[in-house]
């Protein structure tokens, strides 16, 4: 299975052996280049307006008053605690969602049972609910006066207004990505290689590790990247279930909000930049992890 990631032409690589003689060939080449540049311009123009300009503005606003306010903001104890808390929550919810997502994708694409459609919808469900309402639902379910409130209190488990509740809220809002990213790739892969492996005597686990997982790795990679980014930036649901206790249950997004409320623009933007860098780092990390495993798919 050849990857076309290294292809340099926008629409399709020139088929080998096709001569490009004289004027006809030149015209075709020109048309091809025009199309390539045209598509590129459209894409980059859209991104410039919608993505690059906002990002540039964020960096500008952060460093507008020099580096000192930024370092002050980073050094603040509440900021640092918020940073580690956000990382901690991400470190728990993302692996859980990844395992869940791959499992769900396999179930939905390779499994055979009734109600598949319903299950697929269930995964997307929390995503369509406004985060504020998710927070509300969590309080209704696990809060002091909620459905499980008494049982949780009896067993000394604090969910709402404490880190476990925040992990659950974060996991909910970032639930569907790995599954949704992996499913189309699983479908595109087809089952031929897996069936071949199993006729050759590979166990289910071996087939998964050596055939399926490498095949879906790009879906998993982007799923993890999206999940992490979403988990990092989550504000609405976590704001309801966290109690916003500074230095204890205040994540970085909550910290951004608090700084903004107090007119500390540099502090707010600095924390936002940190979040953006974390998301960036996740992508770089995932790329590194997959690059090392690319050797096996050559030819």
């Amino acid at each position: 299975m050849s990857s076309s990631a290294s292809g340099s032409l926008a629409l399709s690589p020139a088929p080998a052996g096709r001569a490009a003689p004289g004027r006809d060939g030149q015209r075709a080449d020109r048309a091809l280049r025009a199309r390539k540049y045209g598509v590129r311009t459209v894409a980059l123009g859209y991104l410039a307006l919608l993505l690059l300009a906002p990002v540039a503005m964020i960096f500008y606003r952060t460093f507008e008053h020099g580096l000192t306010p930024v370092f002050d903001a980073i050094g603040e104890p509440n900021a640092q605690h918020a940073f580690w808390l956000s990382l901690e929550i991400v470190a728990i919810s993302v692996p859980l969602n990844t395992i869940f997502g791959i499992g769900m994708a396999l179930l939905l694409e390779r499994g055979r049972f009734k109600g598949k459609a319903l299950l697929g919808l269930l995964i997307d469900l929390p995503f369509a609910i406004s985060p504020v309402v998710i927070g509300l639902a969590l309080v209704l379910a696990y809060g002091k006066t909620g459905w499980l409130g008494d049982w949780l209190a009896e067993n000394g488990i604090q969910v709402i207004f404490s880190v476990p509740g925040m992990v659950i809220a974060t996991a909910i809002v970032s639930l569907p990505f790995v599954a949704r990213e992996t499913i189309p790739v699983l479908r595109e892969l087809g089952t031929d290689a897996e069936q071949a492996a199993s006729t050759l005597g590979a166990s289910g686990w071996q087939t998964f590790w050596r055939i399926t997982l490498p095949g879906i790795r790009w879906g998993v990679v982007y799923g993890v990247v999206l999940t992490t980014a979403r988990a990092l930036g989550e504000f609405g649901a976590v704001s309801i279930v966290s109690g916003r206790i500074e230095g204890e249950t205040q994540t970085l997004p909550l910290f951004v909000q608090a700084r903004f409320e107090n007119f500390d623009v540099t502090g707010a933007y600095t924390a936002a930049v940190v979040l953006a860098l974390l998301a960036f780092a996740t992508l770089v990390l995932m790329n590194l992890l997959t690059r090392r495993t690319r050797a096996d798919t050559a030819a």
Binding site: S4, A10, S12, L50, A137, L138, I172, R187, W218
Partner: protein
């Protein structure tokens, strides 16, 4: 199997239980109150606005997201890696930051001369920003795995680029595009934080469903908040279900 059981528990704790609690709350006054809550003029206006703008936004996303994914996978240009890394940014930013920045860029003091704040266009703009990664990231993995030999074969048989696109490439990409569209729509319908600053939240004009719900929560009117949430959720589910069916049917043809 233990695996399925664990998946089930995870799903229950995270989704089934909270959603059930929400449904229960929305029905506390019985069916007649439910109907009254969701048919109040302000609620209806907010729901309508949300659904229409979200539909427009996902349509734009489907087109541009695919183009961007294409350029990121098949094209090469200086700075491509950086652009690729930036795609997820709208996601990682807390929505308040998105709101403030979009207001600064596309409001009255706009450095690029575009002033659309406090209009319905602003809603679309904010939603496009926060749903940017979905179609792009859904299509990219599939594009990576796409077998180029099919396209090469078609070209060598004389097919023009548009035909290759339509007959070979798009059918393979369609499930991924649909997946991205589904995610975009779900996110757009529930989006709150990035909209509150740039839209002005004027009832009947720029107030979206999630802001209306938020208002009802603040008003202790939990059944109303839950009821309208359920309606928005149902709408998203209907769209998701339709898209999933569409995707299934299309992929059957491909094989």
């Amino acid at each position: 199997m233990l695996g399925k059981g664990l998946l089930g528990v995870y799903l229950s704790v995270l989704v089934l239980l909270p959603v059930a609690a929400l449904l229960a709350k929305s029905g506390t006054g019985g069916a007649s109150q439910f109907w009254r809550e969701i048919s109040s003029p302000e609620a209806v206006a907010a729901i309508k606005l949300t659904l229409i703008v979200s539909a427009i936004v996902v349509a734009i996303n489907a087109v541009f997201g695919t183009i961007i994914a294409w350029v990121l996978v098949r094209d090469e240009f200086p700075g491509k890696k950086i652009v690729n890394a930036l795609i997820d940014l709208p996601f990682a930013l807390p929505t308040i930051v998105a709101g403030v920045v979009l207001l600064a860029l596309y409001g009255k003091g706009s450095p690029v001369g575009i002033n659309v704040a406090f209009t319905r266009t602003a809603i679309a703009l904010a939603l496009l920003f926060v749903t940017l990664p979905f179609v792009v990231r859904s299509v990219q993995p599939v594009l990576h795995e796409l077998d180029v030999s099919m396209e090469e074969a078609a070209e060598s048989l004389g097919a023009g680029p548009l035909t290759v696109l339509r007959r070979i490439v798009l059918p393979s990409l369609t499930p991924a595009i649909i997946s991205g569209v589904a995610l975009s729509f779900a996110r757009a319908v529930g989006e709150f934080g990035s909209l509150v600053l740039i839209t002005g939240n004027l009832p009947f004009k720029t107030e979206v469903g999630s802001v209306y719900v938020f208002g009802q929560i603040q008003n202790e009117n939990l059944p109303a908040a839950a009821a309208v949430s359920v309606v928005l959720l149902a709408a998203a589910l209907v769209v998701l279900a339709a898209l999933t069916l569409l995707s299934r049917r299309r992929s059957k043809h491909v094989l």
